[in-house]
């Protein structure tokens, strides 16, 4: 029973991991840049939702839409002003540009918002759902549902809209996309905005059960990379599978292992995937 409960908890966590990691994998898939600062956009999203709650009285669920919109604009401008300039530069420049962004965003947040931990209060915070002897805490359930809605929306956008097809074709071959009248630069801007916005959305919906501080991204950075590497960098469906897998691994290993080894388990999964199946678990060679 404890195992079943842990698996269920893992799924609830994993749904959110999936959504925040889709953002990261989307940026890589389209722009071919690993965004080391992705988790800092999650932090930004949490702050937007926090202030929407504190100043405007918005529930984080509604605030998450605002978080998406605000961070989308930030990502759009960063792609236009910064990332665009290193797309053809050596890899070392691409890596350190986003590492620089990570440092700037984290410390800008520290200066602007201070180092204190902030949290929101919602009516459903202490509620829980019970069925068949299993318990799901309400904020986790709500975050999972919001993630599922977001995931389906992304799938629909990517497969059923002109914009989604433009993104996928640019990811496959920017030159060919250009030939059929798609402006790759424009797609890149939108894709980066969309990717970081999605991660910010994920940050906002987990705000009811987490506290936000400028360094909250550090908890999620390696975790998100594990998720996208498991699913294959650039593979959106893979990020969903990877997210759920990481959630379950984390939750189940918490059952059997002391705290200091839980992160080690995730790391071993991460390194093993990189070494043995760098293309991810889903893709066939």
């Amino acid at each position: 029973m404890a195992l079943l409960q842990a698996v269920l908890d893992g799924f609830m966590l994993g749904g959110v991991y999936a959504v925040i990691s889709i953002g990261l994998t989307l940026v890589f898939g389209v722009v071919s840049i690993v965004n080391f600062a992705q988790a800092q956009f999650l932090m930004l999203g949490m702050y937007v939702a926090y202030f929407a709650w504190a100043r405007l009285g918005l529930d984080p669920l509604l605030g998450s839409l605002l978080a998406f919109a605000v961070v989308f604009c930030v990502g759009y401008l960063i792609q236009q002003g910064l990332i665009r300039r290193v797309l053809k530069a050596p890899e070392v420049a691409q890596i350190f540009l986003t590492v620089g962004l990570l440092i700037v965003l984290e410390n800008a947040a520290l200066i602007a918002f201070g180092s204190e931990y902030r949290s929101v209060q919602t009516w459903y915070q202490n509620e829980s759902l019970r069925a068949f002897g299993l318990i799901v805490s309400m904020p986790y359930a709500i975050a999972f549902c919001a993630s599922a809605v977001a995931g389906v929306t992304i799938w629909w956008v990517l497969t059923h809209t002109w914009w989604g097809r433009a993104v996928r074709s640019t990811a496959q071959d920017p030159m060919a996309a250009k030939l059929v009248g798609i402006d790759p630069d424009r797609v890149y801007r939108l894709a980066v905005g969309f990717g970081v916005g999605l991660t910010a959305f994920g940050g906002a919906i987990i705000l009811p059960y987490l506290t936000v501080s400028p360094s909250v991204g550090e908890q999620f950075g390696v975790l998100m990379f594990t998720v996208v590497v498991l699913g294959g960098l650039g593979n959106v469906l893979g990020a969903v599978v990877g997210g759920l897998a990481v959630g379950v691994i984390q939750s189940v290993s918490g059952l059997y292992l002391p705290l200091q080894l839980q992160n080690l388990v995730l790391f071993i999964v991460f390194i093993a995937t990189l070494a043995l199946r760098p293309e991810g678990l889903l893709r066939k060679k």
Partner: protein, 322 residues
């Protein structure tokens, strides 16, 4: 003896005289001592990052392993840090070899991700495994009165200055030796094209493992020196992504990756610049100097990711051809 050697010897003599011109335990001497240490650390990074172009974002892992190894040996078993340097090098080198087994085939972003994750995992283990590491509260080097040289404890900064200078000279010598040896050429071949390197008979896997081990071991020794110099550290300090891993890489980038002079030029540029920001902005609150660090990083990447030497050549060429 040619002119270049003479010039180098003169510069070395000037550096050796520096501590006697400055106040014994003053701020400036501390900054210079750290500058030498960071140049030595960057030199270690240079072997893997510069020569083989394997961009590591996790060298803090080896630095922290060295610091913890010697300090735990000293606190628990009273082992002198002089032996701790050897132990720290061994542990860090072993970790480097171990990590290179699954990561040596990775390139670019993937290698950076894997090394970053390695350091982050060690940081989280350091923070949670309280019985061994002391957890987030950190660990202190016990001060023994009059221990002095035997326990590598000095009240003046001067001996540390020379210690770090020796570390820098040693790591530079190793780097120079490697870059002019068979291993250096093999590493450059690996950097240029792994498959071709394999075809001409280079055992690329062994080459990478050897380089990673040397680099990690040197970084571990630097960690030991840092622990003795600072007397106190915690997991977030020694396993830090920003202030260790990224900083040593940035020093190499600024100075020019893969050159022996690069880390020295980079450290002489970056650390004083950071101190300048610290001195002028420290009143502005937490995070301001780190923000400046991030902005410097982004600016350098946008202006000239190949560093100051390349920038100088570019500007000189522009002046020659109007």
């Amino acid at each position: 003896m040619n002119r270049k050697t003479l010039l180098l010897l003169a510069a070395l003599a000037a550096v050796c005289a520096l501590p006697w011109l400055l106040s014994e335990s003053g701020y400036l001497l501390r900054v210079l001592t750290l500058l030498l240490l960071f140049a030595a650390m960057a030199q270690s990074w240079n072997i893997v990052g510069g020569l083989a172009n394997q961009i590591s974002l996790g060298h803090a892992a080896f630095f922290g392993l060295g610091a913890y190894t010697s300090t735990i040996l000293l606190v628990r078993y009273g082992v002198s840090p002089w032996l701790g340097v050897v132990a720290g090098m061994a542990v860090a080198g072993a970790a480097g070899a171990l990590l290179s087994l699954p990561t040596m085939r990775l390139k670019g972003h993937y290698f950076a991700l894997a090394t970053l994750a390695f350091a982050e995992v060690l940081r989280s283990i350091g923070n949670t495994w309280k019985s061994v590491t002391g957890g987030p509260g950190g660990i202190s080097v016990p001060l023994v009165p009059d221990a002095g040289l035997a326990l590598m404890q000095f009240s003046s900064t001067r001996p540390y200055f020379y210690l770090m200078l020796v570390a820098l000279l040693a790591s530079s010598a190793v780097c120079w030796k490697i870059s002019t040896s068979r291993l250096g050429y093999e590493l450059r071949a690996v950097k240029a094209n792994v498959d071709s390197a394999e075809v001409i008979g280079i055992h690329t896997a062994r080459t990478k493992i050897v380089a990673a081990t040397i680099s990690a071991g040197m970084m571990g020794a630097c960690g030991v020196l840092y622990a003795q110099f600072n007397y106190f550290f915690d997991p977030d300090a020694v396993f830090s992504l920003v202030s260790i891993s990224v900083r040593v890489a940035l020093i190499c980038i600024i100075g020019g990756m893969g050159t022996v002079a690069g880390p020295i030029i980079g450290a002489c540029f970056l650390l004083p610049l950071e101190e300048l920001f610290n001195a002028t902005l420290s009143g502005a609150g937490a995070g301001v100097s780190q923000l400046a660090f991030g902005l410097i990083l982004i600016l350098i990447i946008l202006i000239e990711p190949r560093g100051l030497q390349a920038l100088y050549r570019r500007l000189a060429a522009r002046r020659r051809a109007p």
